[in-house]
């Protein structure tokens, strides 16, 4: 459902608007649903709005979980 992608905030041209970048493609999106967004933050964008921030630490943790998946079993 809800096609949404993680994007990096590269500029804050006006209150409630951000310029985001995904793989070199840039677009203006609304920040009406999110407070305190800073340049460098990653946000999830859906239909032209930033819905939530993406937590880089959690992202790394999740990736590590994937990598662990079989190690735990192999050890058993």
């Amino acid at each position: 459902m809800c096609l949404a992608i993680p994007a990096r905030v590269v500029a804050l041209p006006e209150p409630d608007a951000a310029l985001i970048d995904v793989g070199g493609v840039r677009k203006r999106v609304s920040l009406a649903l999110l407070d305190d967004v800073a340049i460098g933050d990653y946000v999830i964008v859906h239909v032209g709005y930033a819905l939530t921030r993406l937590d880089p630490a959690e992202a790394e943790r999740t990736l590590a979980l994937f990598a662990e998946a079989q190690i735990a079993m192999d050890g058993a």
Binding site: Y42, H46, G48
Partner: protein, 383 residues
């Protein structure tokens, strides 16, 4: 693309596949419903089924807002667009949904109705601003992810005092649909649809949080794992569900921790609560009338409610008799169980909505998985 590519890594996929195969007990069967259409699409597009053992079965749920939109509501949208001086702004997803009298929004557009595709609700507001003499109606669809953007649009229009903007609201709610499935005869009594656990939607959950699913886990004793949108997320979630089922647990777990918290997006929820309230009942295509499952615009914002403004009357239109979308949306049947799948009903000429939206179970299977229905012995001749 950061935070996208890493979650599609083929090698990690193989690891997760091996882990799932090891941990899924060969004497048990794991029937997991992925509620969200985006997950259905990911599973088909990446061929995830190939990486799962035979006793882990994915059932496609009704989390596709286009698929569950009743024909009657599209008819209403077409009728609106036929009014002279009215511009109907819509997301592209709705354009090809077949409605009554062989029409669709796309066909209505070909006949001269002013229907414009927009990417964002903000574009609809802009249309109203730029065309002060036209009436602009935004055809709002979607689950809880897409609802806050509509709320913002209405509040924006109110703040600007736009008198020519309104919304035809068709927003629906995820927990109500999950309830409906779990309460259905096939699941509750007959046991014809074995449903052991759910993969919870990714982006809906960023808005509503993980908390609303706790009720289902508790009440119906089924584990729920909220999964991110990428194929590795889906596989990890499947592994987590397998583990819960093995251990006899029925909890809500969050795989999508990088974007989902327990409370969700409070600001978005508040904006939605400001503008919308629950409808007592709403018809879902395939599920029938579902109580407290959809939203309407509050009295306070009546000026922006297209249903009030244009006196829209909803007339329920039954599905084509041969169409099995209803059963498919509830996970009772598979696309290949439908008599007209792939012959009369194709993405080119869809009879039911499961075939129109690329997330619908039928379209996904037709587009990505059809070759598996036939035992094709695909060998290459020696060069």
């Amino acid at each position: 693309m950061k935070y996208i590519d890493e979650f599609r890594d083929g090698e990690l996929a193989q690891r997760l596949a091996r882990a799932i195969a090891r941990e899924a007990s060969p004497s048990a069967s794991y029937n997991l419903m992925e509620f969200c259409g985006g997950h259905t699409h990911a599973i088909s597009r990446y061929g995830i089924k190939d990486l799962l053992p035979a006793n882990v079965r994915m059932i496609h749920g009704p989390g596709c807002p286009v698929c569950v939109l009743p024909i009657g509501r599209i008819d209403n949208a077409i009728a609106l667009s036929s009014r002279p001086g009215l511009i109907l702004a819509t997301y592209a997803d709705t354009l090809r949904v077949p409605a009554s009298k062989g029409l669709s929004l796309m066909k209505a557009k070909a006949r001269g109705c002013d229907i414009r595709m927009v990417y964002s609700s903000a574009d609809a507001v802009r249309l109203a601003r730029e065309h002060p003499t036209a009436e602009v109606v935004f055809f709002a669809i979607g689950f809880e992810t897409t609802t806050p953007p509509t709320a913002v649009a209405i509040l924006q229009a109110a703040a600007e005092g736009l008198s020519n903007f309104s919304v035809f609201c068709n927003h629906v709610l995820t927990p109500a649909a999950i309830s409906n499935i779990l309460e259905s005869k096939e699941v509750r009594e007959l046991g014809t649809v074995p449903l052991d656990g759910f993969i919870g939607p990714a982006h809906v959950s960023t808005v509503i949080g993980s908390q609303p699913y706790e009720y289902f886990a508790e009440e119906y004793q089924r584990p729920v794992v909220i999964a991110g949108f990428e194929p590795l997320d889906v596989m990890q979630a499947i592994l987590m569900l397998v583990r819960q089922l093995n251990e006899g647990r029925a909890e809500v777990e969050n795989e999508f921790t990088r974007a989902v918290t327990r409370e969700g997006n409070l600001k978005a929820k508040a904006l939605v609560a400001e503008v919308f309230e629950l409808r007592r009942s709403f018809e879902w295509r395939g599920l029938g009338e579902v109580p407290y499952s959809a939203l309407k615009i509050k009295e306070k914002y009546r000026a922006f409610d297209a249903e009030a403004r244009y006196g829209i009357e909803y007339v329920s239109v039954p599905d084509n008799k041969a169409c099995e979308c209803g059963a498919i949306l509830r996970g009772v049947k598979k696309p290949t169980d439908c008599k007209v799948f792939g012959t009369v009903c194709t993405p080119e000429n869809p009879i039911g909505s499961c075939m129109v939206s690329s997330e619908g179970a039928c379209a996904a299977h037709y587009t990505y998985g059809r070759f598996k229905d036939v035992p094709v012995v695909a060998t290459s001749a020696a060069a």
